[in-house]
Symmetry: C2
Subunit: 139 residues, 2 copies
DNA sequence: TATGGAGGTTCCAGCAACTGGAAGGTCAAG
DNA sequence: CTTGACCTTCCAGTTGCTGGAACCTCCATA
């Protein structure tokens, strides 16, 4: 099928599919004489696979690895799990970082009047000297 | 002071300081005859300010706004708070997204043996059809 | 057969926020 | 006078697309 139909089947924009082709992540199963990309069931399956993996936050490089594991009948599920585990830790780090920002912001916002006067603990905090980390403020 | 000293004072790499100059976020207070950037106390204060704001996850554009509020004696703290609030909601969304990925990953990983056999629920899930969202799996 | 519109193709640029590197100018110390 | 640590600019790359321009191709209809 043409790229447009593949896009509908897989739930991915054509632009993205062309991009995946360009970076060698998922190549069309064939090219028509007119130069049109052709995607068969297998290719569409790969596209969907990658959409799901990306949806779980895996990087494109991770997707490449996952896809090759998926296509490898002699894979060890341990390899997949290790990859997922690394990714999970990465996610945990990000969550922790965001939570820390959130905490600081909430504390500062609670102390800001939010009226039409210039007085502002948020700005005061940002302007404060010292502090080497980025977790902000000692409230 | 020269850029290197400003970098030490503010805790920001020189590269980044030059970048901030380039995009007009923080310009050096002067340029020496030799073309060297010169940063005075005020400029260094701005650099530190931006470091803190970036550390709380504010975008560079937000930093621009925050900096101009900081320099504005007639500001309303409400404007600062509104900006912070928007940012906080953005953070909340990101956290929610990551938590959702985390949940799905954990469920899948719990069901994966992680041994040397090819059998893998993680891959099975990624390959599964249907499912329009990216939150993954009905376990 | 002409034509219009909906496909497809390529390449180029841009987003965010830097970071690295190359090629070269400057300055203070020894 | 040389060495080495600074400084300068510019260009490219990172991640994962997304938009647009310019052009080609296919199919249906008048």
């Amino acid at each position: 099928m043409n790229i447009g139909d593949a896009a509908k089947q897989a739930g991915i924009p054509t632009k993205t599919i062309r991009y995946y082709d360009e970076i060698g992540l998922i190549e069309p199963s064939a090219r028509g004489e007119n130069g049109y990309r052709d995607y068969d069931g297998n290719a569409v399956e790969s596209l969907r696979f990658v959409r799901h993996a990306r949806g779980l936050g895996f990087s494109v490089e991770d997707c490449r690895a996952l896809l090759s594991l998926y296509r490898d009948r002699n894979r060890a599920s341990g390899d997949v799990k290790a990859l997922a585990d690394r990714h999970l830790r990465h996610i945990d780090e990000k969550i922790a970082e965001l939570e820390s920002m959130k905490r600081t912001l909430e504390i500062l916002m609670a102390r800001c009047h939010g009226d039409d006067r210039p007085d502002c603990p948020i700005l005061d905090n940002l302007a404060a000297e010292g502090r080497d980390d980025q977790s902000g403020s000692r409230p």
